[in-house]
């Protein structure tokens, strides 16, 4: 059965509610994008990072990685890969990622940064 909402006098009020609802939804969607709102390659690879790094900008001791630009991220990952920069966890993670995957991840995280800044 289809219930009807046809109270004419309330139609404009309803539109306002819809508009507010959509606005609220947009805010929540933007917030959610810091996690994995899509399943593209960057988002999939970033799920490796979020086991230790939060992607919403919160930094409670493990450095935030959304503040890094693409080039810097790639340089840091290369330093972890060669063990020039010491961290056994990041050494293992960097070694497991191909150069192409690091590039994709760098682009994804940089985009996340921009999105976070817009908020």
């Amino acid at each position: 059965m289809t219930a009807k909402y046809c109270r004419g006098a309330n139609a404009s009020g309803m539109r306002q509610i819809i508009a507010l609802s959509i606005a609220a939804s947009l805010i929540i969607l933007v917030a959610d994008r810091s996690l994995a709102a899509d399943n593209g390659r960057g988002a999939q690879l970033a799920t490796v990072c979020v086991s230790c790094h939060r992607l919403d900008g919160s930094d409670k001791g493990i450095p935030s990685i959304i503040g890094l630009d693409e080039e810097k991220f790639a340089r840091v990952m290369e330093a972890f890969k060669s063990d020039e920069r010491s961290s056994q966890i990041m050494h293992a993670v960097a070694l497991s990622l191909s150069d192409e995957e690091i590039t994709i991840l760098a682009q994804y995280l940089a985009a996340q940064r921009k999105e976070t800044k817009r908020r």
Binding site: K4, I22, S25, L29, R41, V48, H53, K60, Q88, I89
Partner: protein
């Protein structure tokens, strides 16, 4: 004037509506349904990433408990270094933010042909894919006299919750000079460094409040993970307090007199003031009942999809799996869960799937400011995840390195539990 019907306007009430509209829809069909059984580190992560990465899926998480207490970091609670509340998480965010339907119930049976799971409460859920994450069960009876009823006197405290609180209470009320006897299980078991971290942190507690107390570990094994790190830490922090007896010495743990707190090995009887028996383990009951476990008691899975090798269409993640070289840890479960979620999303929506990246990291405390860690990557090889690279802390590292690891561990817990539940 516009007339909205409930059918047209069906998603008005939910803010997840726009996510659904803005995401690709699979033809004009109804949303594909995925049911996840078990809300621990594996199950909750699968549910979250299924919902977060494909707005077109209808995700249901079945978990009997309203709140989940993490086994990882519960040794810190036993030592009085963390509150019980700090280890406790709920499923509100998964419901509110990701639109996951969380049902407080347990799965009773899976019909893999009809693709229906029946819950203990009588509800029947149909699914397109199902993920089973039941964790571990204990082999009661493997040690004579140690059954489920015995856990109320001698806790295992290897599923966090009331058991953990019971053990803490017993440790607090133990007199100085008493013996804390810990029975460590045979491989494979949940959290390989866990029993020995427990001994370390209980020793830390004793050192402050009951300095004449002793800790005796009766092991089913002849060696254990990170043994050199632990024994070095015990010598430095708690000299003379912890004694470890390997299986070759004890001949195995045979029986328990629960009332008398007596533990019998093949050669001797040991009297405990407080005892903690961590029994031999196997996959959770549902996995065994659904035909997902082999003769080893664990569930063999494909390392790329985490689909059961015994029951196609059913995925298994976490401690219940027999996943090659991957240990039974929350980190491994979380890592498997993400790989599994993207494999399911790819199968149901046709999205691209990457080569899986599987990892494990464990932070382990020898003392509050002395932590060690391991970092392992795995690659699917010959049908199972095999170690690709492994790095473990070393004996002789400087104190600052260990302090830094301890600080990182606390930060990791916050980020990791946010990744699962937040």
């Amino acid at each position: 004037m516009t007339c909205w019907t409930r059918r047209k306007f069906g998603c008005f009430a939910g803010v997840t509506c726009l996510a659904s509209l803005s995401s690709p829809v699979v033809g004009s069909q109804a949303r594909a349904r995925v049911v996840v059984i078990g809300g621990g580190a594996g199950g909750a992560t699968v549910a979250k990433y299924l919902a977060a990465s494909a707005g077109t899926l209808d995700v249901t998480l079945v978990e009997p408990k309203k709140q989940y207490t993490t086994c990882f970091f519960s040794n810190l609670y036993l030592a009085g270094l963390r509150s019980f509340e700090s280890l406790t998480h709920d499923y509100e965010t998964l419901t509110q933010r990701y639109g996951i339907n969380v049902i407080r119930d347990s799965a009773a049976a899976i019909d893999p042909v009809a693709k229906i799971v029946r819950l203990e409460g009588g509800t029947k859920l149909s699914y397109d894919r199902i993920v089973v994450a039941p964790g571990i069960a204990f082999k009661y009876g493997a040690i004579e006299g140690y059954d489920e009823a015995a856990t109320q006197t001698i806790p295992h405290a290897w599923n966090a919750g009331p058991q953990t609180k019971l053990l803490r209470e017993q440790l607090e009320s133990m007199e100085d000079g008493g013996v804390f006897l810990l029975v460590a299980p045979p491989d494979p078991f949940r959290c390989p460094p866990g029993p020995y971290e427990r001994a370390s942190l209980v020793a830390y507690y004793f050192k402050q409040y009951k300095p004449r107390a002793k800790i005796l570990i009766l092991d089913a094994k002849d060696s254990f993970f990170e043994q050199d790190l632990f024994q070095d830490g015990w010598n430095r922090h708690y000299p003379g307090m912890i004694e470890w007896l390997p299986g070759q010495f004890t001949g195995g743990i045979k029986a328990v007199d629960v009332k008398g707190r007596l533990v019998k090995t093949a050669s001797e009887m040991f009297k405990a003031t407080v005892a903690n028996i961590i029994p031999p383990q196997m996959a959770g009951e549902l996995a065994r009942q659904a035909g997902l476990a082999d003769e080893s008691g664990w569930c063999p899975v494909d390392p790329v999809t985490f689909e059961s090798k015994l029951q196609l269409g059913i995925h298994v993640v976490g401690d219940a799996t027999s996943a090659g070289d991957m240990p039974k840890s929350a980190f491994a479960a979380n890592s498997q869960a993400k790989v599994c979620a993207f494999a399911i999303v790819a199968a149901l929506t046709g999205s691209a799937r990457l080569a899986p990246h599987l990892f494990n990291t464990c932070f382990t405390f020898l003392a509050p400011d002395d932590a060690v860690s391991d970092a392992i990557s795995f690659k699917p090889t010959a049908g199972a995840p095999k170690i690709s690279d492994i790095f473990i802390s070393k004996v002789g590292e400087n104190a600052e390195t260990r302090r830094k690891a301890a600080r990182e561990a606390g930060a990791w817990y916050a980020a990791f539990t946010h990744d699962i539940f937040g």
